[in-house]
Amino acid sequence: MGRDLSFLLPELLLASVAFLMIVAEMARAARLVLVIGLAGLAAATLLTLPVLHADTTVFSGTYRIDLISGWAKLILLPGTALALLMVRAEIAGQDREGSVYALICLVTLGALMLAGGGDMMLLVLGVVLTGLGSFALVAFPRDDAATEAAMKYLVFGAVTGSVMIYGLTFWFGGAGSTLFSALAVLADKPLISIAGLVAVIIGLGYKAALVPFHFWAPDAYDGAPVSVAAYLSVITKLAAILAFAQVLRDMPDDSNWRLVIALIAAVTMTYGYLTALVQTNLVRLIAYSSIAQSGYFLLGIVALGASSLAVPGLIVLGAAYVAMNLGAFAVIMIAGRTLDDMRGFGRLRPITGVAMVIFLLSLTGIPPLFGFVGKVYLFTAAVESGYLWLAVIGILNSVLALGVYLRIVVPMYRPAPDGETGPEKSLHPALAVVIGVAAIVTLGMGLLAGFLPG
């Protein structure tokens, strides 16, 4: 028991911090809530380091302490801290500010459960915890768009969640256990394994915004505050992808699940970028491009167990994605929500402009940026596991991606509408920190990729 708890210190700390934050919010001390949150996230990150190289399970195999869950903490916790800073820059001083911080930390707790869960019950718990918090976060602005978006998000979540729970009962019935590690016994029961698989794809596919379960995503991102959209687009998405990895690691090969995931990956990438190509709303453009990014993550899922680079690839692209997507959203918070707002941005704010170019090129997968390293891992993993065609589709989509992201870069270096130039205006300090950290990670980790897991 003591041993088990000691492995869960980061999660336990985050849970207690979240409750402390709620208490502080009752006193209407929003600043204090933020400080507690940031300190708690930092402490939890530090507590992760000693158990990073552990490979074990706790509480009777239900919670996994392995490469995936360790790195998930190392990526999601600092990512959440950056998101808190972005929220601060956007809604400081508004009513219910502290609640947003507290909700975000609770959602991250759910995300950690998804990434570490080795059991169906934990999977359900993680989906519910991340879901409930997210609905409230999206509804924060209390206007029509936000309310509609949150309703859509909620209804979608409720339906897909129920379908997932229903399908998981098949697995439980067939395997006689809720542990994922017991799924191997389904090897000779293809129907049962497919029933559960479809259910999990629906449940987690919704959370990761895979096509065709993505419809809520652009509306939710557009209705929510930009910082909340940034948070949802990276943290809950990455958690869902890592949960996928935890579930499918133990799936027997004969149910053709690799092919199913590969098809979803191909459709998701292509649909996401094609749709992003015609958006004029910047938030929706990034929303559709993040849908496409989910497709790239699936390359790693397809290669699970067939290539030793699959899990490292998911982790590397995950870390890169958190940095570059948060960075891009932070720049959007400065520039504005439409493509026209980007006009002349690079001339008005040269340093922030360069940072934005770095984020967008990294999202495209141009070397030597971090996103490129992640994609090389995943392409290699896909080819190694015999999915050359999927790697080819991924590579072709990188060209679409360039088209999508250059739609933002090109107007950035046109003359500004009012021809205004001069020294760069100062940024909100919190946003400056977020953009700085994200840019350093995106550029630096591409060059120093040797420190990554492998």
Partner: protein, 486 residues
């Protein structure tokens, strides 16, 4: 001392230093740019003096990078890459001098140029597949912003087309590199060359992917269509770098990757590759003949000249006689250097002409030789070199290529017709622009100033030197080509 690393990263460090400077006036930016590229040029001369070795790579610098997947930071040189490195540092130095008149956002321009130089030097020196790909792609980004930011009228469209086209072109190479890695467990290009890791269908697929990438870059017919647009819209120094340095990535890759890493598949596909070369050489010449825009004309002659290189490499792969192979590869490599010198000079001269006249259309000029003798004679000399006149840079290269072709695949010698066409088109251009009736519009046109002469004279001297006595250059190339095993 890690001289190769220092040389490669000095430009980008100079660029970073410029960004950190408090005073970022155009004067400071260009001064720094000239100083850095000049120093890099001197460093490459020192690297040259340290020499290369037959049968492998010299001056190797190696350190861990991503040990998990066997990718490392590896640089080195041989007789194929060293001449290209020298050409690169020279052209960037001259471009920096030429660009000193640019005042629009000069610091950004200089930073991009320096970034491009790092990427170009790195591409030629990299001995690690992944590292090569990194440098290769970074050069695209740099060139995109250069065209989009400082190009002519239709620059946005040309830049976009360039970036999308060449990214689509280069991604198959990534697949080939992944294939080579999965076949060998390392990204070390020396291992890939010594023991080609792929065979049979896998090798043919990898070769196809690489050929696609390099054909776009070379550029070879029918995937050349990005080149005229990019060249015409690019700023002058951008055109010089694009033609003089970045086109060489394609032909360099054709030898380094396609020929050396999938030799058997390359020999099997030899006839097809040879045909691509022949068609490119002829098509480039005829397409150039149809142009009235001088810059577009020179751009199309690049397709023609690079076609000869493709012919040379294909002939080398098909020939059974080691002597012929060496002659073909010596000629192909020398052609790269000659093209860099001559086409570099031509694009500089056309830039100088456009700075004065703000047009590139042949019909707008006439009788300029009397007005601007320096510009005129320099153009005439470079044009003669470009059409392959004996005693000038292209002749020894093309002679060797045709010699080997005649020996191995006599039908391909029809490509020699292209020389007649290029001769015709250059003579027509010279007649239209520099001879004939004087156009009164240009009576005030000034001749080359000191800075412009400083840019153009070294290239002309080298053009003559390589033409008259190419021995020093061929010896360097020969060291490697004579011992190439494939």
């Amino acid at each position: 001392m890690p001289l190769l690393t220092l040389t490669t990263f000095l430009p980008i460090l100079g660029g970073l230093a410029l960004m950190a400077l408090p005073d970022r006036s155009a004067r400071v930016a260009h001064g720094l740019s000239i100083a850095v590229t000049g120093l890099v040029f001197l460093l490459t001369l020192v690297i040259w003096s340290r020499g290369i070795v037959p049968g492998g790579f010299a001056q190797i610098e190696e350190t861990a990078w991503i040990p998990a997947i066997g990718a490392a930071y590896r640089l080195g040189l041989d007789g194929l890459s060293l001449p290209l490195v020298l050409l690169t540092s020279l052209l960037f130095f001259l471009s920096a001098i030429y660009s000193a008149r640019i005042s629009d956002r000069a610091p950004s321009y200089v930073v991009l140029m320096l970034m491009l130089e790092t990427a170009s030097l790195g591409t030629f020196m990299a001995l690690d597949g992944l590292l090569f790909y990194v440098f290769f792609e970074v050069s695209l980004v740099g060139m995109y912003f250069m065209i989009a930011g400082w190009g002519y009228e239709d620059r946005q469209r040309a830049a976009l087309m360039f970036f999308l086209y060449t990214l689509l072109g280069s991604l198959p190479l990534l697949l080939a590199i992944i294939g080579l890695y999965l076949g060998s467990g390392t990204f070390d290009m020396r291992v890939w060359i010594d023991m080609p890791p792929l065979s049979g269908l896998a090798a043919m697929l990898a070769l196809t992917a690489m050929l696609f990438t390099f054909a776009v870059k070379i550029p070879a017919f029918p995937v050349h269509t990005w080149l005229p647009a990019a060249h015409v819209q690019a700023p002058t120094a951008g055109s010089v770098i694009l033609a003089g340095v970045m086109l060489k990535f394609g032909t360099y890759g054709l030898v380094r990757f396609a020929l050396q890493m999938t030799p058997e598949a390359f020999a099997q596909a030899g006839q097809v590759i040879l045909a691509v070369g022949v068609v490119s050489a002829l098509y480039g010449a005829f397409a150039a003949l149809a142009q009235t825009d001088l810059k577009k004309m020179v751009a199309y002659t690049s397709i023609n000249h690079m076609g000869y290189v493709v012919i040379g490499v294909a002939v080398a792969a098909m020939s059974m006689d080691p002597r012929i192979r060496t002659i073909a590869l010596d000629g192909a490599t020398l052609q790269l250097i000659s093209h860099g010198l001559v086409t570099g000079a031509l694009f500089f001269l056309l830039g100088m002409l456009q700075d004065r006249a703000h047009t590139r259309d042949m019909g707008e000029f006439g009788g300029l030789l009397g007005r601007v003798p320096w510009l005129g004679w320099a153009f005439i000399l470079s044009a003669f070199a470009s059409l392959g006149l004996p005693g000038l840079a292209h002749f020894p290269a093309e002679f060797q290529v045709f010699l080997a072709t005649l020996n191995t695949a006599p039908w391909a010698i029809i490509a020699i017709l292209a020389i007649v066409v290029t001769a015709g088109l250059y003579l027509r251009a010279i007649a239209a622009v520099f001879l004939g009736v004087k156009n009164e519009k240009w009576t005030d046109m000034p001749d080359l100033d000191r800075r412009e002469k400083l840019v153009i004279v070294p290239l002309l001297i080298l053009t003559i030197l390589v033409g008259v006595s190419p021995g020093w250059l061929i010896d360097m190339i020969h060291t490697t080509m004579a011992s190439l095993s494939f």
